[in-house]
């Protein structure tokens, strides 16, 4: 597990340096975006590694949806950069946007199923946990609603542009609500290895949502690919992918460790 943490930490430090020091000068933006895609690819592959370690069972569908959700975001990232840097023609909405939205739906489905399978004892739950998780969710929902919900509809824009823009906002709002349940599950499983997996997932979504918030507040700064707001937002998005990777690889390690342990017992 330590190897995973160290590898991901070194990868993130490298990304921080590439964005901050721009070693490739004029070509650096393409390099930055390639690293962004690598981060989403690693997260997606990690999701499928969990599936392989799990095999068949009730959680297969939920883990598959989560993995496909990250994969959809990877495809979206690649298409987005292809349109912008190779074709020099990034329209809105593009197929990349549809993949981003599909990612939200798949993630939400996966989380809903996972939470359902977590056997949460709602009645026994500590009231303080409800309070803290509820307050957090209300705060995030409030911030997103205030900053994006009312400004996402543009009467001058085309119908599909509005559908996609509102889709992003709704996707984030759904993830906020899912965040509440993830925190509850993490608390419920406290002291166990699963708790760390849920906390990493939660922080991964939080990081992605902060990136989305920055995008909603400063859309021009992000599309121009210059300035500290752009850099910080990219850090949040990439850190989100790194946390997803950590969550998936932690879960895979739990499965494999338990399997190996019993394999050893079977052979002795």
């Amino acid at each position: 597990m330590n190897k995973i943490v160290i590898s991901l930490f070194v990868f993130f430090l490298w990304i921080v340096a590439v964005f901050a020091f721009r070693p490739l000068g004029a070509n650096n933006t393409l390099f930055e975006q390639s690293l962004y895609c690598v981060a989403s690819l690693i997260a997606s592959v990690s999701g499928f590694l969990v599936l392989r370690a799990y095999g068949k069972g009730p959680r297969f569908r939920s883990l598959l949806f989560l993995s496909l959700g990250v994969l959809a975001w990877f495809f979206a990232d690649v298409q987005f950069n292809y349109y912008e840097f190779v074709l020099n023609n990034l329209s809105y909405p593009s197929s990349a946007d549809y993949f981003y939205l599909a990612g939200y739906i798949l993630m939400f489905l996966g989380l809903t199923l996972e939470i359902k399978l977590s056997d949460i004892s709602w009645k026994k739950m500590n009231k303080q946990v409800y309070l803290v998780s509820g307050l957090f969710t209300a705060l995030m929902l409030g911030a997103f609603s205030y900053l994006t919900l009312f400004s996402s509809y543009d009467p001058k824009a085309l119908f599909w542009e509005n559908v996609v823009t509102i889709g992003y906002t709704v996707g984030d709002l759904f993830l906020c609500v899912a965040g509440f349940f993830i925190l509850v599950v993490a608390w419920e499983y406290r002291g166990g290895k699963a708790s760390g997996v849920w906390m990493s997932l939660f922080l991964g979504f939080l990081s992605t949502m902060v990136g989305d918030l920055l995008y909603a507040i400063f859309p021009d700064a992000l599309t121009s690919h210059v300035g500290w707001i752009y850099i910080v937002s990219q850090y949040f998005y990439i850190f989100g992918y790194i946390l997803f990777t950590y969550a998936f690889l932690s879960l895979q390690t739990v499965f494999l460790t338990l399997q190996k342990r019993v394999n050893l017992k079977n052979t002795t």
């Binding site: 370690a53 799990y54 095999g55 068949k56 069972g57 009730p58 959680r59 297969f60 399978l117 056997d119 004892s121 419920e188 499983y189 406290r190 002291g191 166990g192 290895k193 699963a194 708790s195 739990v254 499965f255 338990l258 399997q259 019993v262 394999n263 017992k265 079977n266």
Partner: protein, 75 residues
Amino acid sequence: MQTTANNEEVKQDILALYQRYFGSMMFENYKKFYADKDLTTILTSANELMSEYAGEVKGRELLSDIYKRYNITQN
């Protein structure tokens, strides 16, 4: 640990719990491991495993349905 439960039935329920949380690989591996084990060993192993994954409190709770179903009491 006291019970009048059928060893095989308890084992199947515990294995079903493993399949739910850890998947088919774990199910198969533990099916082999538990083949010649007595009920006390199986329940101790299940307690350890579920506690490691879900924490001590939740781990016990996840197994509590099986304990209740077969009237198993812990000394």
